[in-house]
C-alpha cells in the first residue's frame, strides 16, 4: 500500500508536469522524506545506468510493436503536441525499469530473487511489477524517454526558430548550454557518489529546468506564429 502520495508524483516531477506549487511542495518534501529521496535516487540511477547501456535490438517477437512505435516518426500534429508529452513512470514501471536495467547489466537473477522476496524500501509494494518486467520496459528506455522528450522539444524549437529573433534564439541556446553543463557536472558527481541524495535531487531539478526552458522557448515560438 502506498502511504506517501508524493511517491507517485516523482516521475511527474522529472517530467516538469507538476505545477509550481506542487513542485515546490515536493522539493520541500524531498528534503524531509528519505524514502522519496531514495526513490528519486533510484529513478535517476535507472536513468543514468540505462543511458550508459548500448542500444540493443529488442527480441523481435516481444518488442516488434513497441520498437516500431518508438521508432515511428511523429506526425507534425504529434510534434505540435509534444509540449503536453510526458515521460512518466509509475512506481511499478520504475521497479520494472530497475529490473530491466539490472537484467541488461547482468544482475537480473540476483535482483529478481531480491525483489521477489523483499522489495527494496524505495519501491513500494503496490501492485507488484510483473516479473516479466523486462518485457514491459526495454533496457535503455528510461534514459531514452527523457532524451526523447528533450529531443522532441528541441525539434519543435528548431522548426519554429525562424519565428524568433536571432538574438533570442542565441540566448536560449546559450542558456540551454549552461543547463547542459550543470547536468553534466551533476551526472559526473552522481557517478562518483551514487548514494548522495543531494546530487540525486539536484540532477532531477536541473533536468527539469531544461525541460521547462525548452517548453518556454517552444511556447514563445508558437505564440509568434
Amino acid at each position: 500500500m502506498i502511504s506517501d502520495p508524493w511517491t507517485t508524483r516523482l516521475s511527474d516531477y522529472l517530467d516538469g508536469e507538476l505545477s509550481d506549487a506542487e513542485r515546490r511542495a515536493l522539493e520541500r518534501h524531498l528534503g524531509a522524506c528519505p524514502a522519496c529521496t531514495a526513490a528519486l535516487t533510484g529513478l535517476l540511477q535507472v536513468v543514468e545506468r540505462a543511458r550508459a547501456l548500448p542500444d540493443r535490438p529488442p527480441a523481435a517477437e516481444l518488442w516488434s510493436g513497441v520498437a516500431a512505435r518508438i521508432a515511428e516518426a511523429p506526425s507534425p500534429a504529434e510534434r505540435r503536441a509534444v509540449r503536453a508529452r510526458r515521460w512518466a513512470f509509475s512506481l511499478p514501471q520504475l521497479a520494472a525499469a530497475a529490473l530491466a536495467v539490472a537484467f541488461a547489466s547482468g544482475g537480473g537473477a540476483w535482483l529478481l530473487a531480491r525483489y521477489t522476496t523483499a522489495p527494496a524500501a524505495p519501491v513500494p509494494a503496490a501492485p507488484a511489477p510483473a516479473l516479466a518486467a523486462p518485457a514491459v520496459l526495454p533496457a535503455g528506455l528510461a534514459g531514452a524517454r527523457y532524451d526523447a522528450a528533450v529531443a522532441d522539444l528541441e525539434r519543435v524549437l528548431a522548426e519554429d526558430r525562424g519565428r524568433l529573433d536571432s538574438t533570442t534564439v542565441r540566448v536560449i541556446e546559450q542558456n540551454l548550454a549552461v543547463i547542459d553543463r550543470a547536468i553534466a557536472d551533476a551526472r559526473r558527481a552522481l557517478a562518483a557518489d551514487p548514494g548522495n541524495p543531494y546530487l540525486s535531487t539536484y540532477l532531477a531539478h536541473t533536468m527539469r529546468r531544461k525541460i521547462d526552458l525548452l517548453r518556454q522557448a517552444a511556447t514563445i515560438a508558437a505564440s509568434r506564429s
Binding site: 509550481d20 515546490r24 529573433d165 533570442t168 542558456n175 549552461v178 550543470a182 557536472d185 558527481a189 548522495n196
Partner: protein
Amino acid sequence: MLALALVLLAAPTQDTTVAVQRGQRLEISAQTGEIVVHTWGRSAVRVQATGGNLGRLSIDQSAAAVSIRGFSARGGPARVHFDLTVPAWMSLRLSGVNTTMRVTGAEAAVTVETVSGDVEVTGGNELVSLRSVEGAVTLAGAKGKLDVGSVNSDVTVHDVSGDLQAETVNGAVFLEKVQSDNVEANTVNGDVVYEGTIRPNGRYRFVTHNGDVTVAVPEATSALVSVSTFQGDFESAFPVTLTERHGKRFDFTLGSGSARVDLESFGGTIRLVRPGALPARAPGSSGEHKDMDDQE
C-alpha cells in the same frame, strides 16, 4: 455590458482617456517598444501612445477587461511607447516581445511577460507574476503571491511580503527586505543573495549551481539549516554546531529549529552573514556569477 471598441486612426502620437469600472483589468500588448504604467485615483484609463509607425490604436472594452493594442499603418504590430495611467485598483496584464515594461503604484494583480525587454514593477498585490527571457526583472513593494523570473539576466526583489518564487538561469537572484515565510530562489549560473525574515515554521530554499549563496540570518532565528554542496565551501559569520554531517552535506539548528532553510550550491560558497553585512552591490549590477566556460 456591451463590448465597446474605440479605434483611433493615423496619428503618431495619441492621447485618449476612457472610463473604466471597478473589476475590469487592463490588457495591453506591444510587440516592440515600451509600456509604462502609472496609477491615479480616477476610474479611468489614460492612454498616451507614441510611435513613428503607429497607425491605429485599438481600445476594446468588455465587462472584464480593457484591451489596448497598437498597429502600424500597414496593419502589423507597431513600435509603440505606451504611457498609461490607470486606477490603482486595476489589475494589469502586460505582454510583449521586444518590449520594456515599467509599472509603478499598482495595488492589484500584475502579470508581465516579455522576451527581450527589462521588467521593472513597483507595487502589486495578490498575484504578481513577472517574466522576461533576456531582460532583467525587478520587483519592489509588492505583496501577495510573487513569482518573478528571467532566463538570461538578474532577478532583483526588494521590500516585498508574501510567498516568493524567484528564478533565472544565467544571472543572479537578489532578494532584499523580504518578509515571507515561504521563499524559493534558484539559478544555474549566478549568485543567490537573501536578506529577509526567517520566520518560525517558514520554508526557505536557495539553490545555485555555479555561484554563491549568501543568506543574512537575523539574530534569534529558529531554523533547521541544511547545507549541501559538492565542490563548494561553507562560511558562517557566527558559530554553528553541526547536528548531522555527510561529507559536504550537513545540518545544524539555530534556536529551536522551527523554520526550514535549505542552501545548495554545487560549486560555490554557501555563506551565512548577519543582516547588514551583505556584500555591497551597486544598484542594477549583474551578479558576480562566473562564466561556466571558464571553469572547464
